[in-house]
């Protein structure tokens, strides 16, 4: 069982990313995923998160993730908004971060993740879809950890966004997958 937490800001498509990710796992990887989104009084720019649990067999737990194995951060400024993205992590937890700024990556070192995967998902989104919405690209980055294949992510993105928008987002995911670095 793998427990995952996606953090981001309202408008970045965090909940949609959780949905597409869980589709990729459940429909194209022959595993089971459940998402438990923590909805609040949403507004654009406010911190949001979603919990996802992945397993080989149907997932029984219906509760938020408190001890994530993988943390995905869609917006690196979230830590300035009173959010502790390292809450509940353990010695083997992995971070996937939307930035290519080494200074930012260094700031995140203080959380003592075992590994940090990082890529500028927002720039890749701008290049491919013309808008800085990083959910598609960051799903490619998470495939870079080896948790699931990039092909499953691409299929789930096209299925969710439809042929036209899906192709562009899938391209963004592929680019992030190829560009993601590990520290």
């Amino acid at each position: 069982m793998i427990s995952i937490k996606f953090y981001g800001l309202g408008g970045q498509g965090v909940v949609t990313a959780g949905k597409i990710f869980s589709e990729a796992i459940s429909l194209y990887e022959d595993k089971y995923a459940i998402t438990v989104p923590a909805y609040g009084h949403e507004r654009r720019g406010a911190p949001v998160n979603t919990s996802i649990i992945v397993d080989e067999k149907p997932v029984l737990i219906n509760s938020f993730v408190y001890h994530p194995d993988i943390v995905l951060v869609m917006d690196s400024t979230i830590i300035d908004k009173d959010i502790d993205i390292s809450q509940g992590i353990h010695e083997n937890s992995i971070l996937v971060l939307n930035t290519e700024d080494v200074n930012v990556v260094n700031t995140y070192k203080k959380y003592n993740f075992k590994e940090i995967y990082y890529v500028d998902g927002t720039q890749i989104a701008l290049n491919n879809i013309g808008r800085g919405i990083p959910n598609g690209s960051m799903l490619g980055a998470i495939a870079g950890t080896g948790l699931l294949t990039i092909e499953s992510i691409e299929k789930a993105i096209i299925e969710s966004f439809g042929e036209k928008a899906g192709e562009k987002n899938a391209k963004a995911a592929r680019e992030a997958f190829e560009r993601v670095k590990k520290m």
Partner: protein, 401 residues
């Protein structure tokens, strides 16, 4: 049989579409869920041949569905929390007129304080209105129990409406891998709506539901009670048929590792999944705990729950509603009445209100308390299991004058 990723709202819609509902009336504003919106999309796209009536309140939503049902069609609506509270008066019109509507209820706390999040207080407040109530553990059960509910509600031995209760957010917005049956299989299982009672026909107008004197009222109520009593056997029978047709077993009450359990927790809804996980985890540590998952709360499954709790000395009951002014929550009260002649200790737990997460840790805490009670190491239990410290000092509003 194909797998789809659905949230609870989508699963409810999928089941209503598969059941080919013919009239839908809905009030599309908070606290409504995306159920009414998705049904409207299906009707607009021509994927569901139904009359969609947008009304001005939940009260009217159920009035339209009920009266449409009286003309002899499969009618539908959906609601949640304060919307269900506004339907209160009509709930009894639906059940008293024996209109077998199946209605998804997204379980949310009833304001005030305003909340959009999960608890069972909304549905529990309507528990004696003559509707069947099913509580779902996961998204698959939302789909399966909705399909089942059509068969049970419309059965001529029952003719009683049904609420299919799904936890707000924890099911309504949780995406899960769900098996969706083919239309052909559902058509064979549910079939077209066949009216089994008198009906309203514009070509032959009649007045329905007029003033009933005390010489008949009691008998009419008794007929409803008789149908409720019948329904538990009908549910059992149709669950068996469901398993043969669709390959999934549904339970009125599911005893999960209860046979040799030292202590058992009674619960309903999505927390049952987490509780099963905790049971597995604690059993690995040598602690013999079990779960009684109550799927059917109305009618209360006397025979089935008694069978699961037989011989247990210490039982916990988790109510996801406050049961204000009662001796305990509604599930605890029912369980206590059920076991009144048994020599056992039944503890009431309240938690998960207004969206507070029912966590692995808190369920484990309950089981550990029950085990300590069983071993004579503890007398009191933590009734409000997830209450913060200093609840009376939460916050103060500063006045400016």
């Amino acid at each position: 049989m194909v797998f789809k990723m659905l949230d609870g709202n989508e699963a409810a819609v999928e089941a209503m579409k598969l059941a080919r509902v013919q009239v839908i009336s809905a009030y599309p504003i908070t606290p409504q869920s995306s159920i009414s919106e998705k049904l409207s999309d299906l009707v607009a796209a021509g994927e569901l041949k139904a009359e969609y009536v947008r009304v001005e309140s939940e009260h009217t939503a159920l009035s339209v569905a009920t009266t449409a049902g009286l003309t002899g069609v499969r009618a539908a609506t959906a609601t949640a929390s304060n919307g269900l509270a506004l339907m209160h008066e009509i709930l009894s019109m639906t059940s008293g007129n024996r209109v077998p509507i199946v209605m998804p209820v997204v379980n949310r706390g009833v304001a005030a304080p305003w909340t959009l999040w999960c608890e069972h207080g909304d549905a529990m407040a309507q528990r004696d209105m003559g509707w069947l109530q099913f509580y779902c553990q996961n998204v698959q059960e939302v789909l399966d129990l909705t399909l089942l509910a059509y068969r049970v509600a419309e059965d001529e031995r029952v003719l009683t409406p049904a609420m299919v209760c799904l936890d707000g957010f924890f099911l309504s917005h949780s995406m899960q891998k769900t098996q969706v049956p083919e239309q052909r299989l559902v058509d064979d299982f549910i079939g077209p709506y066949i009216r089994k009672n008198t009906y309203i026909d514009p070509d032959d107008p009649m007045f329905c539901c007029d003033l009933t004197g005390s010489d008949e009222f009691t008998e009419m109520r008794y007929q409803q009670k008789y149908a409720m009593d019948n329904s538990i056997d009908v549910i059992e029978e149709i669950e068996n048929e469901f398993e043969i047709r669709f390959g999934r077993k549904l339970h009125i009450v599911e005893g999960y590792k209860t046979e040799d359990a030292d202590v058992v927790l009674v619960a309903l809804g999505s927390m049952c999944g987490t509780a099963k996980y905790v049971v597995d985890k604690m059993r690995q540590e040598g602690k013999k705990v079990g779960l009684a998952k109550v799927t059917v709360f109305r009618p209360f499954p006397v025979k089935q729950l008694k069978e699961v709790l037989k011989g247990k000395k210490v039982i916990g009951v988790f109510d996801r509603s406050a049961g204000l002014g009662g001796q305990g929550g509604p599930v605890w009260s029912e369980t206590s009445a059920l076991m009144m002649n048994e020599n056992c200790d039944i503890r009431n737990y309240v938690g998960g209100l207004g969206g507070r997460d029912v966590t692995i840790d808190n369920i484990e805490k309950i089981y550990n308390e029950l085990l300590e009670i069983k071993e004579g190491k503890r007398t009191v239990h933590t009734e409000w299991i997830d209450l913060k410290e200093n609840p009376m000092e939460l916050r103060q509003v500063t006045k400016n004058v």
